[in-house]
């Protein structure tokens, strides 16, 4: 069971990262971003091309991939979100689904339907944690996510820019009147969300096969659940929600993973948690804006 728990925590941290991006965009634009996971997939393909095809060092490939997805996020805001700034939110919601579909189609056209793979960033013997052998790659993922989580905690509670992002989500008119400029903040929010998705993408890339839309298929729903469980407007809540969903999935795999009667029981358990949270605590675990 310990193995499932440890893996659950690591997967959960990735969901938490994606969920944080979802919450950020939700706070800034009051819309669920269907393209959030695709920011990750595209970054993973960028990394694949740079590392496997261009033979760049791992760190350089990952950094450039994240930079690339930051530009994609910026362009999505400029070309799609900004023209819809005053449009009904449902229009923007459909637009984000459109962005996801376009990105997936582009992957089919450019990369093709066959799965590809990136070698792990770190090789070597696994490390023993709670009697569970964890691969160096997964440890790297966890380490990066913990540092990132702490960094974001600092950014959103101490820095002017981080606080301005929170302010924009709470009172757009007052933000404008303080001279912060909601449109400039919108650019920042979408770029930052793309970077968060991109980091999740490049970290996950070496752990499995890359195929068009893989993160939307495997990670978007757990991340969305994590965001809702955390309270949809709370950034720390999203990260915690991610961990909870990861652990729930891990336990589901342990208890029902080999069941042939209930296939996909682990995911079923995730949705059971979602329904339970919505019934018992509809505001989410951290039910206030943060």
């Amino acid at each position: 069971m310990k193995q499932f728990l440890v893996l659950g925590v690591i997967n959960g941290a990735v969901y938490g990262l994606l969920a944080t991006g979802l919450v950020l965009v939700y706070k800034g634009a009051r819309v669920f971003n269907f393209a959030q996971a695709e920011f990750g997939t595209v970054a993973a393909f960028f990394a694949y091309w740079l590392i496997e095809k261009q033979h760049l060092p791992y760190w350089a490939g990952d950094l450039l991939a994240i930079l690339g997805i930051a530009i994609v996020g910026f362009l999505v805001e400029r070309l799609i979100v900004r023209p819809l700034f005053t449009a009904p939110r449902v229009t923007l919601l459909v637009a984000t689904a459109g962005v996801a579909l376009v990105l997936i189609q582009l992957q089919f056209i450019i990369v093709g339907a066959n799965a590809v793979q990136i070698g792990p960033a770190l090789r070597g013997i696994g490390v023993n944690i709670l009697d569970v052998v964890v691969s160096p790659q997964r440890l790297l993922i966890f380490g990066v996510l913990v540092i990132l989580g702490l960094g974001m905690g600092y950014f959103f509670s101490r820095t002017d820019l981080g606080l301005a992002v929170l302010a924009t989500s709470q009172e757009p008119v007052a933000t404008e009147l303080a001279g912060i400029g909601t449109r400039r903040m919108s650019s920042f929010i979408w770029t930052f969300a793309a970077v968060l998705g991109g980091i999740a993408g490049v970290l996950l890339a070496p752990t499995g096969a890359l195929f068009p839309g893989f993160m939307t298929i495997t990670d978007l729903l757990p991340a969305f659940t994590a965001a809702v469980v955390g309270g949809i407007t709370s950034l720390p809540g999203a990260f915690l929600g991610g961990l909870l969903i990861g652990i729930t999935q891990g336990l589901g795999e342990f208890y029902f993973g080999s069941s042939t009667i209930v296939r996909g029981a682990a995911n079923l358990l995730v949705f059971a948690v979602l329904v339970l949270v919505l019934l018992v605590r509809p505001k989410g675990l951290i039910g206030r804006e943060a």
Binding site: L163, A164, Q170, E171, E176, A178, G179, E289
Partner: protein
């Protein structure tokens, strides 16, 4: 040379005109009060000056330069700051953070920012007591103090305050007017939009608006006392 001058300003929402050619000027250091009933166009005038609403025609000049085409952020940088109707504090952020964000355009100068925050706490000691409290959990009067304080953090030359007394107890409203008077005495020019005629007690200049036009403007103790403004305002 007036600090702010509006000449024949027309604007509205969508195709609906609200201001039908407003012209007035405010001198440096004055405390002007703009009275009028609901729908008279007072808030629209403030939004046009602050840059939240584009003007259809006419001109707005500030410190002898046209600002009519600048966006809100640039106007804040020039020193035009609006404290909006309904307070609009950042509810899930603390008093200190609300104030800090008010100083966004001057955030680089940390020392001056700290001094201005202390000054705000002097004007509104209640805010100092509640500096770590979330703004959304404070009373209406305290939120209004915070909204004015946040406006001051931008170091304004012209402070526009829209309906500060709305929903406040009469005593609290009077205290707020007195504090605004103190602020104006430090050299900050203030335009207070009000439905509460009690604000006239602290005014150097008064405007009365009706249906998108100015029906009265006057300045100086004598002129303000000679005219029965309360009667004019109430029609």
């Amino acid at each position: 040379m007036p600090l702010l001058e509006l000449t024949d300003v027309r604007t509205g929402y969508g195709s609906l005109p609200v201001l039908h050619g407003i012209s007035f000027a405010v001198e440096q250091g004055e405390l002007a009060v703009m009275l009028g009933l609901n729908g008279a166009g007072k808030s629209t005038t403030m939004m046009a000056i602050a840059g939240l609403l584009k003007t259809w025609s006419g001109s707005i000049s500030f410190e002898d330069a046209s600002v009519g085409r600048l966006d809100t952020a640039k106007r804040v940088q020039r020193g035009i700051v609006l404290v909006p109707e309904g307070r609009r504090v950042f509810p899930a952020l603390s008093v200190t953070v609300n104030l800090r964000l008010g100083a966004w355009v001057r955030r680089r100068d940390r020392k001056a920012l700290k001094e201005r925050m202390e000054k705000v706490f002097e004007y509104f000691p209640r805010l100092a007591e509640r500096r770590n409290q979330l703004a959304g959990t404070m009373s209406g009067g305290e939120q209004q103090m915070l909204a004015v304080g946040r406006g001051l953090m931008a170091d304004p030359k012209l402070l526009l305050i829209d309906e500060a007394s709305l929903g406040l107890a009469p005593k609290t409203a009077q205290e707020l007017f007195q504090t605004v008077k103190q602020i104006s005495k430090t050299g900050v020019t203030v335009i207070m939009v009000e439905q509460n005629a009690g604000a006239l007690d602290v005014a150097d200049r008064a405007f009365i608006m009706e249906k998108g036009t100015l029906i009265f403007q006057g300045a100086g103790d004598e002129e303000l006392k000679a005219t029965d403004l309360r009667a004019a305002y109430l029609g």
